[in-house]
């Protein structure tokens, strides 16, 4: 069985980089699972202030600053993409049906 773990942080909290996580003893057990192969992939994400939300309504691609805010939306899936810049990421996000089916796609940079 495959699962996705969704990690949530309180807004406005202190931001730790991936390198800081690696040095943080509280993360030791988690990284142990990564090494054991039970955690098969994942990414540390840049904070919400670096997010862009894409919605397509009609022919228009609407962008908003920040994470998805509609309370009636729920997280339905994730994708990892590798593109040149935010404009390309937005174009890709806008092509996914979720962006136009009354939902939205949040584009969040991976913190590398």
């Amino acid at each position: 069985m495959k699962y996705v773990l969704l990690f949530c942080s309180p807004a406005g909290g202190e931001e730790q980089s991936p390198a800081e996580h690696a040095d943080d003893p509280r993360f030791a057990a988690y990284f142990e699972e990564v090494r054991a192969g039970r955690v098969t992939g994942g990414a540390r994400l840049r904070p919400a202030t670096d997010a862009t939300t894409v919605r397509v309504r009609g022919d228009e691609v609407l962008l908003s600053d920040g994470p998805f805010a509609e309370t009636k939306e729920y997280l339905a899936g994730i994708a990892f993409i590798d593109v040149a810049d935010l404009d390309e990421a937005i174009a890709l996000a806008a092509r996914h049906p979720a962006a136009s089916d009354g939902g939205s796609v949040e584009v969040r940079p991976v913190w590398e």
Binding site: D85, L86, D87, A89, W111
Partner: protein, 416 residues
């Protein structure tokens, strides 16, 4: 030697955006770019006193700032690859040559890159405005904070966040490709227009500093018009701003009270500014690609060309609002059209359109919907009904000068 100070001040207004824009391109570091630009202007004060004012201040400043950036990067022991990149990228403008008088090829593009990046739709709108004023227009953070009536720390934070998002989210530093260009250009023009309106709406002494925003917006629109001479909407925006600005001084009387267009002293309108706006509009319209800014400028020109309020061609204005509605199908445009129709035909014709809007419920909380109804009723001689509508408008109005104006009108209706 005061003329050196003047020359540096003039160069600052003319060249700041260009120097920063080029430095961002060659270093990829917004903070470093600003820092080095600042440093170059500081050096100019000393060096120009000693060596004379260079023939091409912009090239001198860019070269000086670039050299400074190289120094900083070297000191910070940035990798050799990055240093080579800065040195090579910088070379396309050639070394500083006091006699060189050619075109700034590429340099102007840098400013355009900067505009489009600052106005990227993934940034919050307040950040777009602040970033444009800081990096392109060269306003300081305290100046921008004062203009937007927020604490300096808040504005500083806003700028830091925006620059961080540009870096972290990968907002590209470039002029958008053709398929994105129309939409992104509209976004850029929107930022300049918003900037102007912030200044234009300011009417009291406490807000006087904000009127500088009008001048900054016009200056930015001029830069855009130079950079995008083939875009009629860019010219249309500049025309619109000039036509509005020509009337700015007469919108408020000595006591700080609002003066309606009808009662403004038309002889005090800035004729030269209005004429420039009208001429630009004509140039734009000749391209045969009308758009919302050109149409709004045409409406503004209907007002500035009427020597008296009675001479205003309201039928023409009503037609233009109808045209504008095709581009901007908004309730506010329909409300403006209602005013024009009311003035062109009979107040009752306008009231009918206002009633339609009221039924749609779209502008239920907008004080100008009630204020427009009130004004049309007043013109129709139905003062008792007008008073009720003014009362409703007063419940919704926020701006103090507008409030006092509505109170005066209400008093007139009650005593009629």
């Amino acid at each position: 030697m005061p003329d050196v100070e003047e020359a540096v001040a003039a160069a600052f207004r003319e060249e700041w955006g260009q120097v920063v824009a080029t430095l961002i391109r060659v270093t990829g570091d917004w903070d470093l770019a600003e820092e080095c630009a600042q440093d170059a202007f500081a050096q100019a004060l000393d060096r120009w006193r000693r060596d004379g004012i260079p023939r091409r201040p912009g090239a001198w400043l860019t070269t000086t700032a670039r050299n400074r950036a190289l120094d900083v990067l070297r000191r910070e022991a940035v990798g050799a690859a990055k240093l080579r990149e800065v040195a090579v990228l910088g070379r396309d403008e050639g070394p500083y040559d006091p006699e060189y008088d050619g075109e700034d090829s590429g340099v102007e593009d840098d400013r355009l890159r900067l505009v489009f990046t600052c106005c990227h739709p993934a940034l919050p709108i307040e950040a777009r405005v602040a970033l444009t004023l800081r990096t392109l227009a060269g306003l300081t953070t305290p100046e921008i904070a004062r203009a937007f009536l927020v604490p300096e720390a808040t504005m500083a934070q806003r700028l830091v966040r925006a620059k961080k998002k540009i870096r972290n989210a990968g907002i590209p530093y470039r002029v958008p490709p053709a398929h994105l260009l129309p939409e992104r250009t509209t976004g850029v023009l929107g930022v300049v227009y918003l900037l102007f309106n912030e200044g234009y709406a300011a009417s009291s002494g406490a807000e006087l500093v904000r009127t500088n925003l009008c001048a900054e917006a016009i200056r930015l629109a001029r830069v855009l018009a130079r950079l995008m001479p083939d875009e009629p909407e860019v010219l249309g925006l500049l025309a619109l701003l000039l036509l509005h600005d020509a009337r700015r001084g007469t919108r408020v009387d000595a006591a700080g009270e609002l003066v309606t267009l009808e009662d403004q002293d038309r002889t005090a309108w800035d004729r030269a500014e209005a004429d420039e706006g009208a001429a630009l509009l004509e140039t734009a319209l000749r391209r045969g690609r009308p758009g919302p800014y050109q149409i709004q400028a045409a409406i503004a020109a209907c007002h500035t060309t009427a020597t008296t309020a009675e001479e205003t061609d309201w039928a023409d204005i009503a037609g233009l609002y109808g045209e504008l509605e095709r581009f901007v199908p908004s309730a506010v445009v329909r409300l403006n059209r209602a005013v024009a129709v009311g003035m062109a035909q009979h107040p009752d014709a306008g009231l009918e359109l206002v009633a339609e809007l009221e039924r749609s419920g779209e502008l239920a909380d907008y004080h100008l919907l009630s204020a427009t109804r009130a004004d049309l009723l007043r013109r129709s001689g139905r003062t008792a009904e007008a008073a009720v509508a003014y009362e409703r408008a007063l419940e919704l109005v926020e701006n103090a000068a507008e409030r006092r104006f509505l109170e005066r009108r209400l008093a007139e209706c009650r005593s009629a």
